[in-house]
């Protein structure tokens, strides 16, 4: 079956934008293609007259650390994220989540930008970027600017970006500092041919003697049409001692505020609700333990 007529390998952001403009809605961005090609093959999206491949654009494929800030190109693959030593220390949850996406073949070509642009309620990389409070640099209607990542998600599979006109360029977020740590875990068979039954990313900052939570960010997905933070639990944790009792209180509150849905073939709501507790009990203590050993960022 023929899925496209013309295929461009763009070499710069400008060239990409020009092509999109020129084809006026007929051209679509393709990164790794691991979502897009399947959607087209399965008939959920019509064949595309023109595809613009952005994976050879240098500016989109770099991982940079600028003091305490990390900048990640949209076309960085899951495999590169997984193997980055900088990210392993400074964005641990992201490394853990990208490390379980699909299988090796999918991780070798699938990109973090594609994961976010697809706007599924439970993209694994997305879940972690939300917990890291990332911002996305986007070009929308020709305007280039930074947006909080959560603003990109409009509904299941619906992004603020129109990938026939707009471009997701890169992400930025704070690297873990001393007393900060993160963790990701998910419920899924190890093979990962598909999205998880439930994923959970946690970021925490502890106080100076590591006894109390100063701040926390938690994303559990899928629990709604779009990725979102569990702010009730985050707020509860702030100021509380980092103890078993606090963990259990957080779990109880999470189970109360999160109302997962039953999906046709993945899992029922009661199972997901049970797994909210399991994941939080695993990820939150892991993030806390890591926060205690995070070293200062030295200029490299």
């Amino acid at each position: 079956m023929q899925l496209w007529n013309r295929y461009f390998l763009a070499s710069s952001v400008d060239e990409t934008l020009e092509l999109l403009l020129q084809y006026d809605g007929q051209a679509r961005i393709i990164a790794g293609g691991t979502d897009l090609l399947i959607e087209m093959r399965e008939g959920h999206r019509p064949p595309q007259p023109v595809l613009v491949d952005i994976t050879a654009i240098p500016a989109l494929t770099t991982i940079e650390q600028d003091n305490d800030q990390i900048i990640l190109g949209a076309c960085v693959t899951h495999a590169r994220i997984t193997h980055s030593t900088a990210l392993q220390k400074r964005a641990t949850c992201l490394v853990e989540s990208c490390g379980v996406v699909g299988g090796p073949q999918v991780r070798n070509v699938g990109t973090i930008g594609g994961n976010v642009a697809h706007a599924l309620p439970a993209g694994d990389g997305t879940t972690s970027l939300v917990a890291l409070d990332a911002e996305a640099e986007v070009v929308i209607d020709g305007e280039r600017h930074w947006r909080p990542i959560l603003e990109l998600f409009q509904g299941p599979g619906v992004s603020l970006l129109d990938s026939t006109r707009d471009l997701l360029v890169r992400f930025r977020f704070q690297a873990h500092q001393p007393h900060e740590g993160s963790a990701f875990d998910r419920i899924m068979r190890p093979q990962g041919v598909a999205l998880p039954i439930l994923g959970c990313a946690v970021w925490v900052r502890l106080n100076a003697d590591n006894s109390h939570y100063e701040a926390a960010r938690i994303c559990i997905a899928p629990v709604g049409p779009t990725p979102r933070r569990i702010t009730a639990v985050e707020n509860m944790l702030a100021g509380c001692p980092a103890t078993e009792d606090t963990l259990e209180a957080a779990v109880a509150l999470a189970q109360e505020v999160i109302k997962p849905r039953t999906s046709k073939y993945r899992a029922t709501a009661p199972y997901r609700s049970e797994m909210v507790a399991v994941l939080l009990r695993r990820a939150l203590p892991a993030a806390v333990e890591r926060a205690k050993t995070t070293m200062p960022v030295t200029s490299q």
Binding site: G103, Q191, K264, Y271
Partner: protein
């Protein structure tokens, strides 16, 4: 010259291995013919409806479309392996009454033939079908109710099959029982998920025969089905298999064969089709979901005295092989044990689900799930080791089965179990006492480990009164010496390596090295009927046929015939069907025996199960090619692992909600056991060629109950339902207070 063990018992590299690995081997979808057209099939959009009209005008007008065929175009609009109860195409104007009704979403309504695949694909949705909905019934028990819609005119209460066993005196059995265990066992659909989705071509060959090139399991049966539906004589139809990308029973029934032949004949041009994975999952049958109520009793010293079972199989919308599959389940639901008093009722019931049919094990795995779980529960109730309990009850040469007859001579269930248990390292024995070796501790407190056991038996070959047969021809070339041997045997190499075994057996029978033997197969034009690659029968049946043909050819050779040609049809010992009242029968002429030992790890918080190690012990009679046997053991274990813990076909009102391999999960390399040990035992079957028994279904049969047994060992909880998805495990564990903090 005696060449015993020169050609057999050796790990000869399988024929075509290099071509398959390098991608050179051609499967049906890889073949293209000059001037070929493309076909697309319109499946039913409804699970049960009457088609009142089909408007094909828009599709016919679509650019590139050459023809659209509907029910009215099919000369004899029916097919079916055992009962021709399914229309080739459903719709009005058919030659067969009742063919205007679709009974499931696998039903085919129309085909579009076009110059390109795209044109066919686009036009197939332009066919306008008017349905008049009929009530849908998808639950077996609802379908048996008097008020249920009747799917087939002559089949009351939709009961397609009903068998009985009345053996001994069941009331007396219960009176003798000190311990009784009961369970309701539920097993789900399973998709074959062979690597190669259905595909094929049809054309008229130079003798004008309607030639169909597909992947199947029995060229002569395909020929018969195509000829019947097209109203042709057998010799006007030719069936050829190139390489076959897996079958597992899923290619026994028709998929693309008849419609391809129909189009090629009408249009006098080659026609090709390739199904997508989604079409494959919707378009062919599945393993029977079966519900079993079982109640077994034993004396305190561990002798089985009574077994009662009711077995309900969901046949789906058409018969396919349901009568035989349910016959197997019926025979095997009491396990390979001597039980003096038994009462069994088995039903195969029509519903509007996708049809159920042949799938590795053929009713055996579902029955074994019930029987082996019952044995493990009895062992617990009696405080007896499960291996020990089995050894007290397994059928032996002089025992009588619940159908009133003994197994054929050469019964080795006791040895398979005992030797397997020791060799696996999972059990230890001292004298008559058996004991589990405790598993290694799990790496953390949320995970628990346990070991389990189950065993099984399965018939080799077609049975229940069918005169099982297989044809072979051997041609010896040369002058003073035999320089070249051609063996003709139609038996399908579906990926299991049958042709390599044929080559080895022919070489052995003639007394030449394998390099001199050439196998000609997979073409009705050059071969006689060798039967299906199913029921673990290919080595046993083809081997006996090849031996006979070799003997005849060697005889001719000594008479100076050049080439010397010997032809032989092997007829297996006779069998008989179940007596309608008592179930008395000599159901089969040969069996394979298996015992399995497994170690699993379960995360009690998430319900994820990992099968760590499997030891699978088999009496194969004689290992013609040990490595091919290991391939079957490992493949069978992995397929059964998918069945037991992962594969979950979700249906609603007859629709399949997950017809993709991204949502219907099958095992990948990360899901399979860390170790599968093949324990190959060779106790000759006196009827088998060189003593060989069949073995390809055996490794599948006991795995699910062995896993359930190991899960019980790990958690103390019994699981009576497969697939054991994380969700079902968590819910059950929580009922028992496990995994909650």
């Amino acid at each position: 010259m005696t060449s015993q063990d020169v050609n057999i018992g050796r790990n000869i590299r399988r024929m075509g291995a290099v071509e398959k690995v390098t991608g050179e081997a051609l499967y049906p979808g890889d073949i293209d013919l000059k001037n070929q057209l493309w076909m697309k099939i319109r499946f039913s959009d409804r699970a049960h409806a009457r088609i009142t009209a089909i408007d094909t005008r828009q599709a016919e007008a679509h650019p590139g479309v050459v023809a659209v065929f509907t029910a009215a175009d099919v000369p004899v609009n029916e097919y079916g392996l055992l009962i021709p109860d399914q229309p080739v195409l459903c719709g009005p104007g058919s030659s067969k009454p009742g063919a205007d009704i679709v009974r499931c979403i696998s039903d085919q309504v129309a085909v579009v033939v076009a110059e390109t695949e795209q044109a066919a694909a686009a036009a197939v949705y332009l066919i306008d079908i008017t349905y008049e909905d009929l009530p849908v019934v998808t639950d077996v028990f609802a379908a048996m109710a008097d008020s249920a819609p009747q799917l087939h005119a002559e089949v009351e209460n939709n009961i397609q099959t009903h068998y009985r066993i009345r053996h001994g005196d069941i009331e007396q059995g219960w009176a003798q029982a000190d311990v009784i265990v009961e369970g309701e066992y539920i097993t789900g659909h399973q998709e074959h998920a062979y690597l190669q989705p259905e595909a094929g071509l049809s054309y008229l060959d130079d003798e004008g025969r309607v030639t169909v090139v597909v992947a199947g399991q029995w060229v002569h049966e395909d020929q018969e089905q195509v000829a019947h539906a097209l109203g042709l004589e057998h010799d006007q139809v030719r069936v050829i298999y190139p390489n076959i990308g897996g079958a597992f029973g899923g290619r026994e029934d028709m998929s693309v064969q008849i419609v391809l032949g129909l189009a090629a004949k009408k249009l006098q041009r080659p026609v090709k089709i390739i199904w997508s994975r989604e079409e494959s999952i919707i378009g062919h049958h599945k393993r029977h979901p079966i519900t079993i109520h079982a109640r077994w009793g034993a004396t305190r010293d561990g002798k089985l005295v009574a077994a009662e079972a009711e077995v309900f199989g969901d046949a789906g919308a058409y018969a396919y092989t349901t009568p035989k599959v349910m016959g197997n389940a019926h025979l095997m639901v009491c396990g390979p044990y001597e039980i003096p008093n038994a009462k069994v009722d088995t039903y195969g019931v029509y519903t509007n689900n996708v049809p159920s049919g042949a799938f590795r094990g053929f009713g055996g795995p579902q029955a074994a799930f019930a029987a082996e779980c019952q044995m493990n529960k009895l062992a617990e109730a009696l405080g007896m080791d499960p291996v020990e309990l089995r050894l007290r009850n397994v059928l032996r040469d002089d025992s009588v089965m619940v159908v009133g007859t003994p197994l054929p001579p050469g019964v080795t269930l006791d040895r398979v179990l005992a030797e397997g248990a020791v060799e696996s390292g999972f059990w230890q024995r001292s004298g008559d006492r058996w004991q589990r070796v405790p598993p290694n501790p799990a790496p953390d407190s949320t995970r628990r480990r346990g070991t389990g056991v189950a065993m099984g038996f399965k018939n080799i070959g077609f049975s229940f009164g069918y005169q099982e047969n297989s044809w072979a021809e051997i041609e010896l070339h040369g002058q003073a010496q035999i320089e070249r041997v051609v063996v003709r045997q139609a038996g399908a190499d579906v990926g299991q390596g049958a042709h390599t075994a044929f080559q080895q057996m022919a070489a052995e029978a003639v007394g030449v090295p394998v390099e001199k033997v050439e196998v000609v197969s997979h073409d009705t034009a050059f071969t006689g009927n060798s039967g299906s690659a199913s029921a673990s029968r290919m080595t046993f049946m083809a081997g006996n046929a090849i031996r006979g043909a070799a003997e005849a050819a060697l005889e001719k050779w000594t008479q100076e015939d050049r080439p010397a040609i010997g032809t032989y049809t092997y007829l297996a010992p006779k069998t008989s069907p179940f007596d309608p009242e008592t179930g008395q029968a000599t159901p089969n002429f040969a069996y394979g025996y298996v015992a399995q030992f497994v170690e699993v790890e379960v995360d009690v918080e998430t319900g994820q199960v990992e099968v760590l190690r499997v030891s699978s012990a088999h009496d194969v009679g004689k290992a013609i090619n040990p490595r091919l046997i290991e391939g079957q053991v490992e493949g069978g274990v992995v397929q059964a692992l998918g069945y037991a813990v992962m594969e979950n076909l979700v249906t609603r009102d007859g629709m399949i909600l997950n017809p993709y391999l991204s949502t219907y999960l099958i095992p990948t390399v990360w899901d399979i056991p860390h170790e599968v040990q093949s324990i190959i035992l060779e106790y000759a079957d006196p009827r088998g060629p060189w003593g060989a028994r069949g073995m390809a279904e055996m490794p599948y049969i006991p795995l699910a109950p062995a896993i359930a047994s190991a899960l019980h060992d790990a958690t103390g909880v019994w699981f009576d339902r497969v697939p054991l998805t994380p969700e079902t495990i968590v819910m059950k564990l929580r009922e028992h207070g496990i995994g909650v903090i």
